[in-house]
């Protein structure tokens, strides 16, 4: 068992910033991340042993990234890479699976900076080889300088599509089309005032769009992928107009040849750990779905558990950096490691920037607000749950038998019971149940959060020294338990 002042989950921008701030207030820190190298999603980088061939966002941000990574070598910081936080056994204790280093970390406060993952949206053919997620492609480009195709189409919803399109062009790949579900061109004028809150980020986005334009890439806005075609690999994608109510006009579909289809429908905050910790959540569809409730100090409804970065609602790297710092300052306040006036000073600076970026984020959210749902993209044969290969038709059959709620549909189809434990398909199931019952997605009762937060090797659980078990004298009689 390790004891620290602050435990930080996630070594992405938010977690690194939190650790860096915490040490300046004299705190000891455990920085726990399941990747082999620090940086999280944004500062993902090639292993030092790889030769560099093309520039990526990381190179541009290299100085900033290197400065952040330095915190992993700070004497007050215990950095645990390749370590998964899988349970929250006590209110301020984390269980960590990390091979022989596995064990518990007890902390005065916790910052959960767990980031976000891709939101899968099922449509016919989305499981074909050659169809990859935006995050997956970004990881290949950033982490390995690899692009798995020669002619790509990019489709989905959200600001990342333009970034991906542009970085594919830069990597020398032909881009057949960028297909964005939100009618952003029509919405741009209304969102502009908010977007101008962060002109430097807006400029980046416009640069991406401009690069696509210059390369003559068709950009369809208010359109969605309705079919990925091919036998053993994707050959083409069909896209069709999608309305705000989610209906699609297949009659107007257009087809684009490609051997790589990059699909991104935005990101979903990773809230499993916070759910396990019993923190309250709220629903915000534009910001990614279920998010932790937080107060102004970024504290969740659990005392001394803070949440920062994309794991609290998608906000981008700059916001993540600010939130990480802010959460660490508040933890320092809680543990009396900083004088109140000093905290106020830091808060004031952070708050100003946070407000500006939050305003920008609201503009992005208004611009890219998705249609009501993406259920009309599905056909009866569409696979909804990849792990257990559950199709839309199976869901309809169970409904006809009388099973309607998310929990019942899960247990009668096994949707969400595979390797990913619903991380990928629960949002789809919730949308289906919501559409069926006429209720909102936020009212759909989802299966309980359960350990492990992420799959872990059972062998990792054998290393820690624990007190001997209390064995039953007669196994048939009622057992002793802690309540």
């Amino acid at each position: 068992m390790m004891r620290v002042d602050l435990a930080v989950v996630g070594a992405g921008p938010a977690g690194l910033a939190a650790a860096a701030e915490a040490v300046t207030h004299g705190m000891t820190v455990a920085l726990i991340d399941d990747n082999a190298r620090p940086g999280g999603q944004y500062f993902r980088h090639v292993p030092p042993s790889f030769r560099r061939t093309a520039a990526t966002a990381f190179d541009k941000d290299r100085a900033r990234a290197e400065a952040l990574f330095a915190i992993t070598r700070h004497p007050q910081v215990t950095y645990l890479p390749e370590a998964t936080v899988w349970d929250v056994p006590e209110p301020l204790t984390l269980a960590v699976a990390a091979g022989p280093r596995s064990g518990q970390v007890e902390a005065g406060a916790i910052v959960v900076a767990a980031g976000a993952h891709d939101r899968p949206v099922p449509f016919p053919g989305w499981t074909l080889p050659g169809v990859v997620s935006a995050g997956g492609v970004q990881n290949l480009i950033k982490g390995f300088r690899l692009v798995p195709g020669t002619r790509a189409a990019v489709a989905g919803n959200g600001p990342l599509l333009f970034l991906i399109g542009a970085s594919l062009l830069r990597a020398g790949v032909a881009v057949a089309a960028v297909v964005e579900a939100a009618p952003i061109d029509r919405r741009l004028p209304a969102a502009l005032p908010q977007l101008l809150a962060a002109p430097e980020i807006l400029q980046q986005a416009l640069d991406y769009r401009w690069a696509l334009l210059r390369a003559g890439v068709p950009v369809l806005t208010g359109w969605a992928p309705v079919n990925a075609e091919g036998e053993d690999a994707v050959r083409a994608v069909q896209a069709a107009p999608i309305a705000e109510d989610g209906s699609v006009d297949r009659a107007r579909a257009r087809s684009f040849d490609c051997d790589l289809l990059v699909v991104g429908f935005g990101l979903v905050p990773s809230v499993e750990l916070l759910r396990l910790a019993g923190a309250g959540l709220r629903f915000d569809r534009r910001r990614g779905g279920w998010l932790p409730e937080r107060d102004e100090a970024l504290e969740t409804t659990r005392r001394n558990i803070f949440a920062a970065g994309d794991g609290t609602g998608i906000g981008g790297v700059e916001l993540a950096l600010i939130e990480g710092r802010r959460a660490a300052v508040e933890a320092a306040v809680q543990l009396s490691r900083i004088a109140p006036f000093a905290a106020d000073e830091i808060r004031a600076g952070l708050r100003r920037r946070w407000k500006r970026l939050d305003r920008f984020r609201r503009g992005i959210e208004a611009l890219f607000a998705p249609p009501k749902d993406f259920l009309a993209l599905q056909t009866p044969q569409t696979v909804l749950c990849r792990c257990e290969e559950v199709t839309r038709q199976e869901i309809e059959e169970r409904r006809a038998e009388g099973f309607r709620g998310a929990v019942q549909l899960k247990s009668t189809t096994r949707m969400g019971m595979g390797r990913c434990q619903g991380r990928n398909c629960m949002a789809t199931l919730a949308a289906l149940v919501a559409a069926d019952s006429g209720a909102s997605e936020s009212a759909v009762a989802l299966p309980k959060a359960r350990a492990p937060a992420r799959p872990i090797p059972i062998g990792d659980l054998l290393h820690e020294t624990i007190p001997p078990p209390d064995l039953p004298a007669d196994p048939h009689l009622p057992r002793k338990r802690r309540t």
Partner: protein
């Protein structure tokens, strides 16, 4: 929301295995049956359990009903016209210490005296039968009756069959009051009121609470059993594994997932409805499992959960008429009630239809506890 019928021959409180296996034979005999559940049907112990149908781990008092139940499980696919994931690979009940070896020998002798023959395995014969067992296993008894089924498939099949036979299964219908009529009962629920001639309490861990609505005291508590499941893996163990000390149950399903249980206790209670896994007990459970089957170390754990298993203070089933409450019955709290469910439901229905049972279930009579009228 559909409304429940205003009357029925029989009302059953609880849509778990006990309730549904009572409802089916009643409906088959032509009775109109309404099954009420507080939450979602099959949403508690029956939907959350490990699916082990082990005969040799059962107490001597319930061997005969469990044996009958396994026969019924075996016939269920044909009976219901749907797969319930039944397989009968046989099972090993392992012993790891001197004390457990003694207990296992004793248990084997008692079972033999009751007509259940098991086989003692140790040394090379044991390793040949189960090369995947770890060195900590000193001996095991082999029982070819031991089986398994899938609670997920069984729930779906039983509910579909019940509905097909005209049984009304009503979700979100918590029973909040029961009033005696001249003949029968009026049952008030969150989804409406229904009158019936016969009433069965099959409310699992909450049987005591429902019986109290009739003014009957039953000493019912609940264990908070934990269970864990791994990712799908290549074939690893081909038999059902249980443990003399009662701290492990293991088996691999055809889809490759391994279910790891053993009655380790989570936190919470059936009164508060809180059921969480207990971190330390989860670690213990995994350690026992890896000691018995070392190859489990290399599998990934994907989910653990906890569920309520109702248990009477003497850990025997509650099956029979409620004393002093004509027409009211109880079928609940069998230890390993998923295994025994089909037979206990069958006996319950026989009692309700004919006043007699084909198996001897006298020891399970709730009259052994019921202080009827204590606060009626």
């Amino acid at each position: 929301m559909t409304s429940i019928p205003s009357r029925a021959d029989a009302v059953i409180v609880g849509a778990g295995i006990a309730g549904l296996c009572t409802a089916l034979p009643l409906a088959k005999a032509g009775r109109t049956v309404v099954v009420l559940d507080r939450g979602a049907a099959w949403g508690d112990a029956s939907g959350a359990n490990a699916g082990t149908l082990s005969l040799q781990v059962k107490r001597p008092e319930v061997l005969h009903v469990t044996r009958r139940a396994i026969e019924l499980w075996q016939a269920m696919r044909a009976e219901l016209g749907a797969d319930v994931g039944f397989a009968k690979p046989g099972g090993l009940r392992v012993a790891t210490s001197e004390k457990e070896l003694g207990m296992l020998r004793g248990s084997m002798a008692v079972q033999a005296s009751l007509g259940l023959e098991t086989e003692w395995l140790e040394g090379n014969r044991l390793r040949d039968a189960a090369p995947w067992l770890g060195p900590s296993v000193r001996a095991a008894t082999w029982c070819d009756w031991d089986a398994l089924s899938s609670p997920l498939l069984a729930g779906r099949a039983l509910l579909a069959a019940a509905r097909r036979r005209g049984v009304t299964v009503q979700d979100q219908a918590e029973v909040t009051a029961i009033a005696a009529l001249d003949r029968g009962y009026r049952v008030t629920t969150a989804a409406g009121t229904v009158d019936c001639a016969q009433l069965v309490i099959a409310a699992g861990a909450w049987t005591g609470k429902v019986a109290a609505l009739l003014g009957v005291d039953l000493p019912v508590d609940a264990d908070v059993n934990m269970l864990s499941v791994t990712e799908p893996a290549p074939p690893l163990l081909d038999k059902v594994v249980t443990h003399m000390g009662g701290v492990l149950s293991l088996k691999q399903y055809p889809n490759g997932t391994v279910m790891i249980g053993g009655g380790w206790q989570g936190r919470g209670s059936h009164q508060s409805m809180r059921r969480e896994t207990d971190h330390l007990n989860l670690l213990h459970n995994m350690r026992v499992a890896c000691a018995i089957v070392p190859a489990l170390k290399d599998l990934r754990l994907v989910r653990s959960w906890a569920g309520f298993e109702g248990v009477a203070s003497d850990a025997l089933p509650l099956l029979g008429a409620l004393p002093g409450r004509p027409g009211a019955f109880v079928n609940a709290c069998a230890r390993g009630g998923y295994s025994q469910g089909p037979a206990l439901g069958e006996q319950m229905a026989e009692l309700m239809l004919t006043g007699r049972t084909s198996l001897d279930v006298a020891r399970f009579d709730p009259a052994r506890f019921a202080a009827a009228g204590a606060h009626a």
